[in-house]
Amino acid sequence: MMPNSLGRNLFIPLTLFLVIAFLIGPFLIIVAASFSAGDTLAFPPQGFSLRWIAKVFTVESFRASFGMSLFLAIGGTAAALVLGIPASYALSRYKLPGAEVIRTVVSAPIIVPGIIVGLALLRYIVVPFGVGISLALFLAHTALVLPYAVRVVSASLDNLRSDIEEAAVLLGSSRTGAFFRVVLPNIRGGILSAFILGFVTSFNQVPVSLFLSGPGVRTLPIDMIAYMEIVFDPSVAALSALLAFLSIGIVFAAERFLGFSRYV
């Protein structure tokens, strides 16, 4: 009986260890590789240096595509919130006919594979209507972030009693005024959380952007793929590590100051 019960006692910790190792392992490898002194992307790293991290900041195309990604992540998420907040409000406060259908349609960009969304946008929007690449990317990222915006904002609206709006109205506010005076301030945390989630989602987005990237217009992840096809040095690892730390930092700050996990 002894070996059997020992096996059982080890099973859960061992599984746990393997799962965590599998989740964190690649990240640790990338971070380690980015400090390599060697000329190719390799693990274990050869020696220690900061030169690949420094190099990231000198690659011209990285700077341009980082700017593009930043624009899409901020602009696309902001646009998704401008559309998503009223949509969430309507879905949570009114008994709309077909509310479930609307919810499903809004979630479609998450469910439909990104490759298909990208291809469809390219084939039926960009090409026939001559929409610019930047605009197409902006629209695509807005659509991709919208489901997150609606979900997170809805969650915080559902936690907010609707009678405070009636109270505001009876104290002299208009309906619209009540939204801005008592609803918006109370879902601020949800909106910021949605923004951060949307930002990270957009920033890390590959499949849709892959189809919509053109000459001179690329998002950072696409640029990294293109770079790796030509140069196989550790600067891509260094960039990945920097981005990962950026994302971790944002999410950590959000959790610390806003209680991010309440909304997601």
Binding site: R161, L171, G177
Partner: protein, 341 residues
Amino acid sequence: MSDQAYLSLEKLTLAYGDSVAVADLDLDIRRGELIALLGPSGCGKTTTMRAIAGLLPVRSGHVRLDGADITHVSPNKRAVGLVFQSYALFPHLSVYENVAFGLRLKGLRGTELDAKVQSGIKSVGLSSFANRRPAELSGGQQQRVALARSMVMEPKVLLLDEPLSNLDARLRLEMRTELQRVQKETGVTMIFVTHDQAEALALADRIVVMKRGAIEQIGSPQDIYNRPQSSFVADFVGFENVFALEGGKLKAAGSLFELQGEAPSAAGLAWRPRMVSLGTGPFRGTVRGTSFAGDHREYLLDTPLGLIKAEVEASQPVHDLGTELAFDLPAHKAVPLSQFS
């Protein structure tokens, strides 16, 4: 509309979609009155209150307040205050800012605003809590903030939705006193909604009993308590023994029973448990249950008339379960009902 009416509802019909919640309701309320809308859930009392506030559109009929037809006036321009059952305080604002909310919208600023807010908060005894958030207050304190927030607006009518139901027994008494004080000091017309007859009796000048979207009876607490007009109201205010009357005889369990003494002419008769005489009388019943209630003892009797509830003073000898007892439903004590349903 009577000359005295300050708030009047005329042929008011209210509906949610196809389902009519209140039909053809007429009600006149005088200035400074404290009115209770009393009834079980679903009777239309809350619906009526929301219509007075303007939160629910009127299907047909009119609402008049202080000489003006406000049927279609939007709720933010009615000068009607509402203390919600959940209090509906703004969670992101301090007590001070909650109370200041409406005054700021009125355009008050500076010392004038501050003076009104401070005196509003002081009047409900929460001066030392002015900077707290609602979540940091007890339920009773939150309700007082909600009351102050409405009262600083000097509303023509103050509506209160189940004002005592969320409070424990001690706070209830405190809040009841508080509401009476506010009403006395400001003379504001108050209407509160409740399903609890004890609340209505204790607080109101007049009680409006509602049933299925219509007014069943309007009267002073004494009227409602002592002279219910219908079996519904009688049942609601604690007449446990309510019977239809047919040709001067009680109709119960499908048979007719002769009463001792002359029965008044009415549609029905009602007796409170303490109006039933135990020990003597023409009827017989078996003790099915008994319980001690401090100054009195309650009995549940199984009788040919159905179950009868009786009360006797606790000093009387106790009758055991299963004992057969004589009892009487004295005709002279019965309250006559003009409606039986």
